[in-house]
Symmetry: C2
Amino acid sequence: MVSTDPADLEDHGFSVNDYHPGAMHSVVVFPGSTEDVVQIVKVARKFKMPIIPYSGGTSLEGHTRGHETGGICVDLSRMDRILQINEADSDLICQPGVRWADINSTLKEKGIPLFLPLDPAPGATIGGMISTGCSGTNAVRYGTAKAEWFLNVTVVLPSGEVIKTRRRARKSSTGFDTTKLFIGAEGTLGIVSEATIRLAPLLPTTVAVVQFPTVRHATEAVREVMNKGVGIQCVELCDDVFMQATNKFGMSLRKWPEKDSLFFKFQGHSQESLQETARVVKSVVEKHGGTGFELARNEQEAEDLWADRKNAHYSGIALLEGSKGWPTDVCVPVSKLPELVYETKKDLAESGILSTIVGHVGDGNFHALLLFRTDEELEAARHAVHRMVKRAIALDGTCTGEHGVGIGKKEYLVEELGDGTVELMKTIKRTLDPLNLFNPGKLYPDEPRPKGRNQ
Amino acid sequence: MVSTDPADLEDHGFSVNDYHPGAMHSVVVFPGSTEDVVQIVKVARKFKMPIIPYSGGTSLEGHTRGHETGGICVDLSRMDRILQINEADSDLICQPGVRWADINSTLKEKGIPLFLPLDPAPGATIGGMISTGCSGTNAVRYGTAKAEWFLNVTVVLPSGEVIKTRRRARKSSTGFDTTKLFIGAEGTLGIVSEATIRLAPLLPTTVAVVQFPTVRHATEAVREVMNKGVGIQCVELCDDVFMQATNKFGMSLRKWPEKDSLFFKFQGHSQESLQETARVVKSVVEKHGGTGFELARNEQEAEDLWADRKNAHYSGIALLEGSKGWPTDVCVPVSKLPELVYETKKDLAESGILSTIVGHVGDGNFHALLLFRTDEELEAARHAVHRMVKRAIALDGTCTGEHGVGIGKKEYLVEELGDGTVELMKTIKRTLDPLNLFNPGKLYPDEPRPKGRNQ
């Protein structure tokens, strides 16, 4: 299946989620199998055309933007099947176009009490999740895509060759794990056409919310809670502006105190163990100045409370009528988070930019949604993001905790990782894709450098 | 510091733990800093001499064996300092020569309730643990070295260049994670000279032991236990022969039923939660035919019970007077474990080889210790290991779950991973180490292949 319909080209090459520069794709193709992908790669090689993989279209840094010379957008949405569920091994095999949310609802429908804990945007698909090195709210308990959820991947390399990186055993010590080469590579080293995914036991959960005088109080409470060893599946920091936005948005059943707040999701093997976790957490957070600790009394209340956290994007936008939002994320060592949030909020206030902040606080990762209405305000937001990234890197952190590099963050890689590490990445890229056809212009910094530095 | 003392050369080039072929090193050097390592690499490049890194010396597959052309063994044992402990961030920075056991005892002495959960042989050091892609008994709870315990590594590349792969944030989505290139690379892509390690909260634990009619009963019990979501830190399968060996060894305070047994280590935030876990586990294992469930009544009893598991090597050897043991490990999808153990035990019995089996059953990984006294018996053991590996690979498993490839397993890589994946590994090796100086003859299969298959 092939399309040159301008609407398809527009839809695949641009995103309502980001404001990075870019061009249109020449064509969008919809492979149905690994073999189809191989054929597309062969055509691309023949005509030296860039290949830009596309799956869920939820990325935020221009990952699927078209290339200035034109190119082939490979939309993997037709490859959306779960091929095998191995309940006894807690794993499954699937194609790259399947959504994590659909994997979890399929497991639920089948009555299999397992789930994939990686939870980026609900529309995100396995191919993009691998390629972005995603994570989400569950990462504080389960780690990220770079942990051990992907047991193997089948990849079409830039050469057109198909490899499967590993077998299905949970562990293997057979050299460095080539699966990891493709996690976070943003489609620049190959196109993932199949994956074997490890699943986790699905456990009872509940939700609690608590307010704090400052982000520092909240962060210190989180540190102590995490060291207790009770069942924490998620712990999310929502700043005072976020809570104000939630009130203004009006979808919440509550009127929240407009203070820096923590949203906890507890997990346990029984209702009793959830109650015990709640008891321990309440005592720790109150020691750190937490007030208004509210524990869901039933499943419905838990869902309602969590919805207020999950509505982040829409409630954020609601804060300023007629605005759009620039979403971004950075990540620092956990102890540096209060400083980073404090300085960022001060900067935003001084720049007259409204923004909510919501953080995966257990990992030192936070998202900001910078609101703007005019081109001038968009430029101000762009500059504020730039300063936020610089601040995060200066605190031994990263320009992106989970959104990836794409176009939007590539200028920061040398400062963050150093010349040598970036050159190592580029050396591997050049080795695997000497024609530079796979998602060119993304991930790797632009400046020309002498070849062969790592050799 | 440099040594050409034959005792040093022998000590660094050969191992009492394995029976693989190899040659003597030309010289052993003892760098004290990253800069020293750089100087050694420069010398090696000048004289085109192989470099073989060495740290704990506990590897089992000939990883530190000398090269036939002679070479420089780089002993990192002087670089054994913990450089920085960031308690508030649950991480630390250290040199490659420090033992994980020393990291954990240092944290304990300082009263910092954190630990590194990777637990291979007690003498193993960080450099070797990274390079082997290690794990151990805690992996069922915490994952392996290939998960997210190593936040970054500083590496001296074959070019002599020093890179640091990442900063100290727990998460980063800045492209594929180059840290992972060096985890499991067995020193073939660079020498790790510093690492930042994430730590886990240290929690109360206790131990329980239970016997089963067969390995299949035990494995199915483990599967159900793991899905309960109670606090399991370790679950180890010790077969009937292992328990017989433990009785014969005579260091146990108990006389064990000589049946396939599970050793559990529970973890929880309180004594009550440990008791609750024990109650849940007891009920599940008894449903699966488990008998004699014994829970440690105090810390001393827990230590005593666990010691019987930990004495595996010595109790195994005790089974046959005057014997040595060939240790090996394989790993399969968990549901395949009973079949693999059954077939392997049948094969060993038919071959007249005594062996204990002890498995990280939650991960489908097991170790066998094949006993022999004569050269003929050694050859028989070698062939039995070969058949065990073939069996594991046929069950969608791996030739090594945690010991690594070294010399002993490299012949299996093509069958297990496929031509294309092995060629990808070799392509990266050739790109980073075009002179093939870094631990040559290890990890990558020997057969010559045409260059540039992945290009």
